[in-house]
Amino acid sequence: MIQVNNLSKSFDSIQAVKEISFSINKGEVFGLLGPNGAGKSTTINMMSTILKSDVGEIHINGIDIKQSPNICKQLIGVVPQEISLYDDFTAYDNLMFWGSLYKIPAKELKKKISDILELIGLSDRKNDLIKTYSGGMKRRINIAAAILHKPEIIFMDEPTVGVDPQSRNKIFEIIETLNQQGITIIYTTHYMEEVERLCNRIAIMDSGRIIAQGSQAELLQQSNAKEAIVITFQTVSETQIMQLQNKFELEINQEEQKVTIGCDVNKDLSNIISVCNNNNLKIEDIELKKVNLEAIFLNLTGKHLRD
């Protein structure tokens, strides 16, 4: 559905996006994950036609967006990072305005607004001014304004910034509902939990480049990051450590009475505990270190997502 080839963009001497390529299939939720300044928003701006690339091509449904930006604009909806609404308008008036930009007939638009307000759970507040809304409610209207024209693709640029957990969950539900309706979603964030929950496939960006892409399982395979169990003992002797070393690969922190055992957590946990018991090792604490996107990102770049 979307094909991005060899895309680059510079601002003066700064190269914001460097020769990135990826494709997105219809109905996918595709995550663009990376820290601030990774080039995610620049990529979204190019894909949503408002910014021209220096090099490279973007095709949406086979249409070159540089050649036919207006056709592509009808196919996409963008949920900007900022809450881009008119504070002195009601929610309903805002939606009427944003919907009317897509030349939707008034009757049809009213019906769509009614349906969408139902979807986002704000029908009863539709006549209230936006400035009276909470941050989470504004975020939901911000999404609603982008989907009125029933786009096939929705770009969501960090749509949960600054919202409370309850509103975040509601936004996730909205995204999942939209995806179930067959809408393709491109989701940018620096929250790996959001990507893990929502995205089928992920591209990890850093310093303008895509450093890894694929499903979570594929990223795990590409990465050298391994799962581990960290055990803190009440007391541990050198002899006991040596007995453990005979059975497992260990990283030892003798001072803190702590060992890190690289393993498959689900498969090896019970075996490790029984070995400890057999060697009379008294466990004070166990921490399971699963491989997640944060770990993969750390492994790939040597830095944290929120650095």
């Binding site: 928003s41 620049t42 701006n45 949503s48 036609t49 408002i50 910014l51 207006n70 604009k73 009808q74 996409i76 963008v78 900007p80 990072q81 900022e82 809450i83 881009s84 609404l85 008119y86 504070d87 944003w98 930009l101 897509y102 030349k103 304004a145």
Partner: protein, 410 residues
């Protein structure tokens, strides 16, 4: 902590070079402008003479001699014309007035009768006319006035005091010529130049001050109102709605023209309200030529709203917008006659005034309420207002296309 904030704000301010430039350039420009307007600059340079039309119906050696005498004055240039053309030019505001030497002028000098001469002038330039009048009277007195009065007195002496010795008569006439006796000044006063406002002849006298106040102020305030349109775009930028508009199928020029449309409607409404108010409260005769008034309101509103979108197109920050709008509005209002009536300004400022939308608007409203011109005669001014609007719109579109992405920080 306060020092940290202070340093940050100073750094932010100086990072916006255009805002810095405007902050310092604006007062310099305004100081220069007012210095020009009040004649404080170039005071030693030779002033351009006032051009006065002259119609010599008498066509006598006497009238020719007076015309030559007046033309020799350094502050005055006489331009001979036929009567109809001359009155037409004054009525249209092209010249300040016309001095007419009627038939029998020479005979009246010889006979000592009242001189059949008349100064018809554009009452819209009453102050300029006042200055001209004193120059004319002085010269006329020194040429024809004394001759006429001497002739009149000789006749009076002959009729009533024929026995007065000629030496006493000569003494009296010498005192008149010396110009330093009480008699001389009383004689000077006896010469009067008939002065007629051309507008007064055509219609009931209007209130020039009111027209100046309404037209001048209305256009200046209109410019201030339109500047808020620029502020609206900065609001859109700051709230992110401008970027969202660009994501939609709208073209950047659609956004610009949308704002211009809003500005135009607001400008028309504002002018209508101002003129209605002037009618209700001050009795400004707005219905004397309602078609012309509406067309002038439309064309003025169009020209002014084009300045609104020019501000939209050029300003990238709120500071820039405030600086630019202040400088543009005050400059155009000052040179265009909104703040100071044009006729009190030096000639060079009157010439510069034509670059201002205020000038054409104010002159257009003068044409309606004071000069009573026909719609056809007003069309050139309306055309110029439309032209200003079109040029500013074209420039604004080009600038906006270039700057819009910088506005949304992509």
């Amino acid at each position: 902590m306060i020092l940290t904030i202070f340093k940050k704000d100073i750094k932010l301010f100086f990072s916006d070079k255009r805002a810095v430039l405007l902050t310092f350039l604006m007062p310099i420009l305004l100081i220069s402008l007012f210095a020009f307007a009040f004649g404080g600059v170039g005071g030693n340079s030779k002033a351009k003479p006032i051009q006065l039309l002259v119609v010599d119906i008498d066509d006598s050696s006497g009238s020719k001699s007076v015309i030559a005498g007046l033309d020799s004055l350094s502050g005055l240039t006489l331009i001979p014309k036929e009567i109809e053309e001359a009155i037409g030019l004054v009525r249209k505001g092209k010249h300040v007035g016309v001095l007419i030497f009627e038939k029998g002028f020479q005979d009246s000098i010889i006979a000592g009768n009242s001189l059949p001469m008349e100064l018809k002038y554009d009452a819209a330039r009453e102050i300029e006319m006042g200055m001209l009048q004193s120059v004319l009277m002085q010269k006329l007195m020194s040429t024809v006035g004394k001759k006429s009065i001497k002739a009149k007195m000789s006749r009076y002496f002959d009729e009533n005091f024929s026995g007065i010795p000629s030496s006493i008569r000569e003494k009296i006439f010498n005192d008149m010529d010396s110009g330093n006796s009480n008699m001389s000044s009383s004689m000077n006063d006896s010469l009067s130049l008939k002065m007629t406002s051309i507008i007064k002849e055509v219609t009931k006298k209007g209130n020039l001050g009111l027209i100046q106040a309404v037209a001048g102020t209305a256009i200046m305030m209109l410019l201030f109102s339109i500047a808020t349109i620029g502020g609206g775009l900065i609001d859109e930028k700051e709230s992110g709605t401008l970027k969202r508009l660009l994501y939609s199928p709208l073209k950047p020029t659609d956004i610009l023209f949308g704002k211009m449309g809003a500005a135009l409607v607001l400008a028309i409404l504002q002018l209508l309200v101002m003129f209605l108010f002037s009618w209700l409260v001050f009795g400004l005769p707005i219905f004397k030529d309602i078609t012309a008034l509406l067309l002038m309101i439309l064309t003025t509103a169009f020209a002014v709203s084009s300045f609104g979108i020019f501000l939209v197109a050029i300003a990238k920050s709120r500071q820039q917008l405030q600086g630019l709008s202040t400088i543009i509005i005050l400059t155009m209002s000052a040179i265009g006659g909104s703040m100071i009536p044009l006729f009190v300004m030096p000639t060079i400022m009157q010439k510069i005034a034509v670059v201002s939308v205020n000038y054409w608007g104010i002159q257009g409203f003068y044409d309606i309420f004071w000069r009573n011109l026909s719609l056809i005669d007003m069309l050139p001014k309306m055309g110029i207002l439309i032209g200003i609007g079109l040029v500013m719109t074209i420039i604004s579109v080009k600038l906006f296309k270039k700057n819009v992405l910088k506005l949304v920080d992509v």
